[in-house]
């Protein structure tokens, strides 16, 4: 009798772990909007016993009951107050990678597991000053069609100001069911007053790899995100390109905001034949090395990697590993500078807490948090270039592969 009960409990546990794993994979999969570096979860949220509050916390309830009894104005619900309190704690911690996402927004992110989402089709990122910037409107997608441009700052979504929101919160507001509209208030360089743009959302299927042969037998492959499918898509593209025996390969990670840590190791391993991809330093000085996996498809061909300010997190891992090993050279602009690793937790009410659990360093031990990676050859890309359809960074990469300098 006893043993039967145990078996049943064991099964339940496994089931719970599986559900959590699915939820978290979806949360980390940001489909063209995302940033960050995520790990799969290791444990469900601990359940707090009632009455186990630290003594310092007593003033919280004093304050809350004062508000409840005395405040002149509309009171928040207990749920809003609770979420406010969590966000306040995160503010006190002051780590930009650690964030809280309410159940509604966490649920929206779950659609990403399908490899697509419903939104406006733009890559965005949060600047250190708390402003949301359009890194790239995806060609042919609603944002681009409505005239949104690279470098635009988004001030409001519908009527909600988004300054100082987390990236994910801002994204959640921009997204919504296909066919509905969203109104963005845009601040654009050279335009004095902010203006509004109304965009009809549509279903955006994400293909994260794009590849082709350029002139002079040079192969080009671009990776836009490190999602769960990225390694597979990249391998297929490299197989096709390498079959044509190119004289050089350009790997484009511009505006790639990151994704899974494990995927970054797999991607870097396509280009390197040994050594380390990164070193992770966790709590209590715990250090973990991630070696190259071996069996890479493009470990010999001359290599140039394109990067820019939108290359963040997992992109910076790959770029850093290639630069440190001398395997290839980096062309473009300084990268974003995000070197923290987050572990997403699903809380009991479906909200999500992403916690910075580690920092990573390049194989040579370089710190890139807040600094970024500096390319070997710096080439700017101006708005005029963009408007004229020029890509001086790509041109410089081709020139390097043809001339060796």
């Amino acid at each position: 009798m006893d043993s039967t009960v145990k078996v049943v409990q064991g099964l339940c546990k496994i089931f719970v772990m599986m559900v959590l794993a699915i939820v978290v994979v979806s949360a980390a999969f940001l489909s063209g909007f995302g940033a960050g570096l995520s790990l799969a979860p290791t444990r469900p949220a601990p359940v707090a016993a009632v009455g186990e509050e630290p003594p310092e916390f007593a003033v919280f309830w004093e304050a809350w009951h004062l508000i409840e009894n005395e405040f002149y104005g509309e009171l928040p619900t207990m749920q809003e107050a609770t979420y406010g309190a969590i966000r306040g704690v995160l503010m006190a911690i002051g780590d930009d990678g650690t964030s809280f996402i309410d159940p509604e927004h966490a649920a929206i992110m779950r659609e990403d597991i399908t490899g697509g989402f419903e939104g406006i089709g733009a890559v965005v990122n949060m600047l250190p000053n708390g402003r949301l910037i359009i890194v790239e409107p995806l060609p042919g997608r609603p944002a681009a069609q409505a005239g949104i441009q690279q470098g635009d700052l988004v001030l409001k979504v519908d009527d909600t100001p988004i300054q100082n929101m987390t990236l994910i919160e801002a994204i959640s507001l921009i997204r919504g069911p296909a066919g509905t509209t969203v109104r963005l208030t845009i601040l654009r360089k050279g335009v004095k007053e902010p203006f509004e743009v109304t965009i009809v959302r549509e279903r955006i299927e994400i293909e994260v790899v794009e590849s082709r042969m350029l002139d002079d037998d040079i192969a080009y492959v671009r990776l836009t995100e490190f999602n769960a499918r990225a390694t597979q898509e990249l391998k297929e593209a490299l197989r096709e390109l390498m079959a044509q025996e190119p004289r050089g390969l350009i790997f484009d990670m511009r505006s790639n905001p990151g994704g899974f840590l494990q995927t970054s190791v797999e991607v870097a391993s396509q280009f390197l034949d040994g050594g380390l991809v990164l070193t992770e330093k966790g709590k209590g000085g715990l250090q973990r090395e991630y070696p190259v996996e071996g069996g890479g498809l493009a470990t010999e061909v001359p290599l140039v990697v394109l990067i820019n300010m939108g290359s963040a997190s997992a992109s910076e891992i790959v770029a850093g590993a290639i630069q440190d090993s001398g395997r290839g050279i980096l062309v473009g602009e300084r990268t974003f500078g995000k070197a923290s690793v987050q572990l997403p937790h699903t809380l009991s009410d479906g909200s999500e807490l992403r916690v910075t659990i580690a920092r990573w360093f390049t194989p040579k031990g370089h710190e890139i948090q807040g600094i970024g990676i500096i390319p070997d050859i710096e080439v700017e890309m101006t708005l005029e270039d963009l408007e004229a359809g020029h890509d001086p960074q790509l041109e410089r990469a081709v020139e390097y592969l043809l001339t060796g300098k």
């Binding site: 004093e62 004062l66 405040f71 916690v355």
Partner: protein, 396 residues
């Protein structure tokens, strides 16, 4: 020479009051520590907070703040959901300074305390106060207060609080002074140090024209104002200018006291609380200056308690407002001290002028609008005061 020094001290004082993170709230209320455990329902809904807290404690990479700082963060986070800029949380140390400011006096040594660029804490004694009498000179650097070492990274506010203390107690300062190899030790008995908020004088332009400026509404302001009015009248003042420019407010009771110096009857303000009947605060009677012709100077920095006084004078036609539109803060805060000496300023009411003007977002519009430009300020001109003088001379 002497006048100049006094003025510079007055300026420095104004700064010290402003930088002590003074929030324009009124009224103090002592929060009796009732049963402050969460109800079962609150506790249930709050479960996710503790889930998040424990995850952070377990997994967060980097140094977590103390449980106290995380608690304060949680309180501030809840306050952001109220969407009211005046409901604020004040930590114990700034709260202590704020209390001193509102009291209008504190126990101290009578010296200006400032932080040099290199982080050193430097003293400048006031005339005839304990610090000067004990031998402190300008430029002395504080190394220790009692047995507490002073380090360059210590916030100024912390050092000020160490030096202040109850009247009659002794503080031991260890001082480094230029030209001395060894540190000097001074034992100084703290005295009551006043922070005046009212300045007054008889203006030279125009006959019998008195000028009174109030910078803040503290517990001592009404007493100071009474002295000012009596002295000005004794000196022959027959008309009065009350300057409330850049006065950010203070205590509600003081605003009523101050308004009552100028009004003979009627209402000073109406207050509306949650789930309560409107309450009126009548003029107290027995004012010192209820008949004398009056002009009140206001500007965008005239807020809160100042707007109560200006609004009551304007609505009763007791005087004329000259200057710029006022700030527009029509809410009342109570300050509750929490069990760990931190405090919560809670918006508990909305107030209205006697004619029921809503102040929030509108402010008061002066009867005679006179701007003061950056240029005026740079040239030391004061067209608003000039207009007030002209008003009395021309009667319009």
């Amino acid at each position: 020479m002497r006048t100049l020094v006094k003025i510079s001290i007055a300026v420095a004082l104004a700064f010290s009051v402003m930088t002590a993170s003074y929030a324009a709230g009124y009224g103090t209320h002592w929060w009796l520590n009732k049963d402050n455990n969460p109800t079962t329902e609150e506790g249930d809904q709050f479960t996710v907070f503790w889930e998040a807290w424990h995850i952070l404690e377990k997994d967060f990479y980097g140094q977590l703040p103390t449980a106290q700082q995380m608690t304060y963060g949680a309180i501030r986070g809840v306050l952001t959901t109220l969407d009211d800029p005046y409901t604020t949380f004040v930590e114990p140390k700034p709260r202590q300074l704020e209390k001193d400011d509102l009291r209008g006096s504190f126990g101290g040594i009578g010296a200006w305390v400032s932080k040099r660029e290199d982080g050193a804490i430097v003293l400048k004694p006031m005339e005839d106060k304990p610090a000067q009498r004990a031998g402190i000179v300008e430029g002395d650097v504080v190394i220790k207060v009692d047995d507490q070492e002073i380090t360059p990274d210590m916030p100024l506010e912390d050092v000020i609080l160490l030096i202040r203390g109850p009247v009659g107690t002794v503080v031991k300062l260890t001082i480094s002074r230029a030209g001395y190899l060894e540190p000097l030790v001074f034992e100084i008995t703290r005295e009551k140090v006043d922070t005046p908020t009212v300045t007054w004088r008889l203006l030279e332009e125009g006959q019998g024209l008195g000028y009174i400026s109030i910078s803040l509404f503290t517990e001592r302001t009404n007493e100071e104002l009474e002295t000012a009015l009596k002295e000005l009248k004794a000196q022959g003042a027959t008309r009065m200018i009350l300057d409330l420019r850049n006065n950010s407010g203070g205590l509600l009771q003081t605003a009523i006291d101050v308004a009552s110096q100028f009004l003979s009857d009627g209402v000073v303000l109406y207050e509306q609380r949650r789930d309560q009947e409107e309450k009126s605060y009548p003029v107290q009677g027995g004012g010192e200056a209820t008949d004398i012709p009056l002009v009140v100077l206001v500007n965008a920095g005239t807020a809160s308690a100042s707007e109560i006084v200006a609004g009551a004078i304007q609505d009763s036609d007791r005087g004329v407002l000259i200057g710029e539109n006022t700030f527009g803060k029509g809410s009342v805060q109570l300050v509750y001290d929490l069990s760990d000496q931190s405090s919560l300023h809670v918006t508990v009411a909305q107030w209205f002028t006697p004619n029921r003007h809503e102040i929030t977002g509108n402010g008061l519009t002066p009867n005679i609008v006179v701007p003061l430009t950056e240029e005026d300020r740079a040239q030391g001109k004061d067209p608003q005061l000039d207009r007030a003088i002209a008003y009395f001379n021309t009667n319009r």
